[in-house]
């Protein structure tokens, strides 16, 4: 099966002087998908986005937009539009003029532009603001106009550069749903850049986790979280316990690892070719306590407790190993574990992952 790809990033590298921003990046973004570039600041995600938009050129490698090479094509000739982080709405133009800007440059005739601008304003529920200037709008309204402006010419790909970061928390949640709906309705490929993993997990069809100028893993939100491809991804997405150890046997997709826990754990692995040093990862919410403990069982001493409302986070000690675990507070006035007390903890071996170094 091969889905048609909207964008192909072919072995792209980008250097700024001695600094390597992108290091042999190679992947495809499919048509009509909501694709997210996720990573900490400085990971190269913004550089990659700017490269697709046409504001940077690759030092090596190339880019294809619907099969056509665009690496050297100037920004104004690419059928790609951007929603900027701070929206970059032209302050000297009304909202209508902002939305019409791209259409005029494409040479559309007047009636068609008027009709289109009206439709776009309607789409973002801003019809009554057509004659206003950007500085008369709230953050959320600006965001909508930036979207309308970028979508007006029906680009082949829409790029969004951390568009939610300037909004307050409540609005951000609402805009997530709105963006997702808009993407489904228009069927346009969205490439979304963010450092916020929750945003990425919530909205995306697929996520590329980036770190140190490389793509660390590409997959669905669930794959990224449940089957992190390496230590970087496991560490960046969500919270986890890492235990360094020695793989003593590899059999197909399964590996057995010996760690300071004392019990050998057999579970699926990523990127191992044979025995040797490796890391085991087990997420805090996958460790059960007392009656919820199952699978590999250990006696542990409670060391600290942090009450977070919906959850309570604990650190416990098993021999030399410190583990973090979290319990959902399913009942009100649920008994909490006393610091210093001994408890029984456990996790099912398939919930752990063995990661190569």
């Amino acid at each position: 099966m091969s889905r048609p790809s909207a964008i192909e990033v072919v072995n792209v590298s980008k250097r700024f002087g001695d600094y390597t921003a992108l290091d042999h990046v190679d992947f495809k973004i499919f048509q009509n998908e909501f694709f997210t570039l996720l990573g900490p600041s400085g990971c190269g995600k913004t550089t990659l986005l700017r490269m697709i938009a046409g504001f940077e050129t690759p030092s090596a490698g190339t880019l294809l937009l619907n099969g056509k090479e665009i690496a050297q094509m100037p920004a104004h000739k690419r059928r790609v539009n951007t929603v900027f982080q701070n929206y970059a709405l032209f302050p000297h133009m009304t909202l209508s003029q902002n939305i019409a800007f791209g259409l005029k440059n494409l040479g559309w005739d007047k009636t068609r532009i008027t009709e289109r601008v009206g439709r776009m304003l309607e789409m973002v529920h801003m019809e009554q603001f057509a004659a206003r200037k950007p500085d008369q709008l709230s953050g959320g309204q600006r965001q909508r106009i930036a979207l309308a402006r970028a979508l007006a010419a029906e680009p082949e790909v829409l790029l969004l550069d951390e568009p939610l970061s300037a909004l307050d928390l409540k609005l951000r949640q609402a805009m997530r749903d709105e963006l997702r709906t808009l993407q489904r309705e228009t069927g346009i490929t969205f490439v979304f850049v963010t450092h916020d993993q929750e945003e990425a997990l919530d909205m995306s069809d697929r996520i590329a986790v980036m770190g140190n100028g490389r793509v660390q893993q590409i997959g669905s939100p669930k794959e990224i979280y449940e089957d992190p491809g390496n230590r970087f991804v496991a560490d960046f997405i969500g919270d986890t316990n890492f235990l360094d150890g020695e793989v003593i046997a590899v059999e197909g997709a399964q590996a057995t690892i010996r760690t300071a826990l004392g019990t050998d754990i057999t579970t699926s692995h990523q990127g191992l070719s044979g025995p040797g040093p490796a890391t085991m990862s087990i997420r805090p919410e996958k460790i059960g306590v007392n009656e919820q403990a199952e699978g590999a069982l250990f006696d542990a001493t409670v060391r600290s407790r942090n009450y977070m409302g919906g959850f309570t986070h604990y650190t416990v000690q098993v021999g030399e190993v410190t583990l973090r675990l979290s319990r959902r507070n399913a009942q009100s006035h649920q008994d909490s574990l006393e610091i210093g007390s001994t408890v029984r903890i456990g996790f099912r071996e398939p919930n752990a992952r063995v990661l190569g170094q």
Binding site: A53, K77, V80, T82, F84, N105, L106
Partner: protein, 264 residues
Amino acid sequence: MSQNIRTYPGLRPLSILFFLWLYLPIGVVVFYSFNDNRLVSVWTGFSTKWYAAALENEALMGALEISLTVALISTLCATLIALLAAIVLTRATDMKFRRVSETVVNLPLLLPEIVLAVAVLILFSQIGLTNGLLKLVLAHTAFCTPFAFLPIRARLQGMSLDFEEAARDLYAAPFTAFRLVTLPMILPGVFAGAMTAFVMSMDDFITSNLLNSGGATTLPVYIFSLIRQGTTPELNAISTLLIAASLLLATLVLILNARAMRRS
């Protein structure tokens, strides 16, 4: 009673005295321009006759015409040159010779004007340039350029690059992006720069005086020759008109700057 620890005794009266001192000379000139008496400092009554005399003074009007012609042409040239240079120097940051180019554009501000005036005087005499107006325009364009350059550059630097990228992203070719987005957004800076250049050209004495030949006597040079003949109420009237014009332009520039600042 606790006192504001940030204030110091005497600050307020000193500042008030300072502002009085700052406006005293201007006030004196304006006041005596309405004096009926021929002697400048002997007040005998209110009159506007010296304004009438000034406006009928053909030599004065001739000098004004020269000054306006020189200032308008120099301002236009200086602003265009400064605009081009400012765009390149703010937008092509990785360029070679950027620092030295910026220094060169600002050179007239750094060096004493009398030296520059002597330099062009000798140059013009060496190449045999005798057209008085052309000499003035060339020299004025040079020293007006940094005055036009600085506000334009400030505006370009204050403008986020996002806007130009957004324009390119929305299918605007480079020149279209400049015409529809960059230029309208830096226009207050361009106006402020042009007006500063205009005022500097109109006010200039040192260069214009040294180049004064070929029938190109500017207004300040003409006023200087009047002062040499002694202070007169007519001189006060002329000065008052000049003060009024300067203050009007200054206010316009300050309003433009303030509006530009509020926007960014």
